[in-house]
């Protein structure tokens, strides 16, 4: 699913436009699985799955799989509906140069929420 991030983000013109001053690489960890995600001027240009030897990133977002699963559900329950909610509950750790993360907080929230289960697509699968 995370592999689809580029397509989902880049397909949203307004999101890409809001991210036009953002060029960075960050690490997303779902339990022990790591993903290195590169963004160039608001577009996701690569999504690579670990494990990595010496991955370089500006910051990392780390949470257990069950927490990401709730965050990415179609209607997340209270406490799982937002990155800041996960941070408040101390289940998401944001580490590294967080200036990049905070200066573009709306972008990162909306980009990662793009991985949320989509009702229509889920319905088509069934």
């Amino acid at each position: 699913m995370i592999e689809t991030l580029a397509q989902r983000v880049n397909g949203d013109e307004a999101l890409v436009r809001r991210g036009r001053f953002l060029t960075t690489t960050f690490l997303l960890e779902v339990g022990s699985t790591a993903w290195l995600i590169s963004i160039f001027e608001g577009r996701v240009v690569s999504v690579a799955r670990g494990p990595f030897v010496m991955p370089s990133s500006s910051f990392a977002l780390r949470a257990p799989p069950e927490e990401w699963q709730k965050f990415w559900s179609q209607r997340p329950p209270p406490g799982s509906n937002d990155l800041m909610a996960l941070i408040k509950r101390r289940v998401l750790r944001a580490e590294g140069n967080l200036q990049v993360f905070m200066a573009n907080l709306r972008y990162f929230k909306e980009a990662l929420a793009k991985l949320r289960a989509d009702g229509v697509k889920e319905g088509l699968k069934a």
Binding site: P78, N81, D82, M84, Q99, A103, L105, R106, K109
Partner: protein, 282 residues
């Protein structure tokens, strides 16, 4: 042809607070029992626009909302440019009581959200005789900081963008888009460091955990309404206040978040109107 005016009237009031001159923006609508509304940190009185536009409320209440100094259309006091704004419990309390006196609000119903809900608890404890009843929205006794507040005010992070992005997830999932983004726009418009300065009260100075159990609801009824999706002041934190204050009434509002009166007024009124009915019958 399509122009339409709301019944809200806004005026600027000049008032001395904490020994300094202030220019404060005050809005009101309706007639009857005064209902004084306190906005959240980093926002302004526009959060109560729906209350002032709903006849079910304005037929029997004089709804009043002011923008705190530094917020909305209220100015910071002269000399602000060399100061760091930090809201304290003492200043917040004085401000509310002085404004009530200036506006001749006799024992109003007080409704406050978030920092407004917190100071409502302080007022219920320290000045119960000044109020007919107190309604705390998203009111908890304390909130631990859960992010580095310095990010709210530094030159390499846009203050308005980050303030709105921090609180965006506090809006409940069912909020109509129009109201959700209106609510966030207010955050985007806040002055530099103002949201951070308010949070000094919310997360540090205004901790009332040790004293909240002393609130006497026989002197002033206390109602607590909290949104299910608020992770800043969680339902558990509101229920903890309710458990420690005998006679208080707490309701958790389904699907709502941290800004019920602004993010989803139609849903919020389902909870507010019965509370106003009860207060009217006291």
């Amino acid at each position: 042809m399509s122009a339409r005016f709301e019944p809200i009237i806004g005026r600027y009031m000049h008032l001395d607070l904490f020994g300094r001159k202030h220019r404060i923006y005050v809005e009101q609508a309706g007639e009857g029992t005064p209902l004084l509304c306190l906005h959240t940190a980093g926002a302004d009185g526009r959060q109560y626009r729906a209350l002032m536009n709903d006849e079910r409320i304005t037929q029997r209440h004089r709804v009043v909302a002011f923008d705190m100094p530094w917020h909305g259309k209220s100015s910071p006091p002269s000399g602000w440019h060399d100061e760091e704004y930090q809201l304290t419990s003492a200043q917040y309390t004085t401000m509310i009581l002085e404004i009530m006196t200036a506006l001749e609000l006799d024992r109003p119903i007080l409704i406050g959200c978030s920092i407004g809900g917190r100071i409502a608890l302080h007022l219920a404890l320290e000045h119960p005789e000044r109020f007919r009843a107190i309604i705390g929205l998203q009111a908890g006794a304390h909130v631990d900081p859960y992010y580095d507040l310095n990010f709210l005010h530094r030159p390499d992070v846009h203050g308005g963008e980050v303030a709105a992005a921090i609180v965006s997830g506090l809006v409940g999932p069912d909020a109509p888009d129009h109201e959700r983004w209106e609510t966030l726009w207010h955050y985007m418009q806040g002055g530099p460091g103002v949201f951070k300065g308010d949070l000094y009260f919310y997360k540090l100075d205004g901790d009332i955990r040790g004293r909240v159990a002393q609130i006497d609801t026989r002197r002033c009824p206390l109602f607590l309404l909290s949104g299910e999706y608020d992770y800043s002041c969680t339902p558990e934190e509101t229920l903890a206040v309710a458990e420690s204050v005998p006679g208080s009434e707490a309701t958790i509002m389904k699907g709502l978040g941290h800004f019920p009166m602004s993010e989803n007024p139609a849903e919020f009124f389902k909870y507010l109107l019965p509370v106003l009915e009860k207060i009217g019958a006291i």
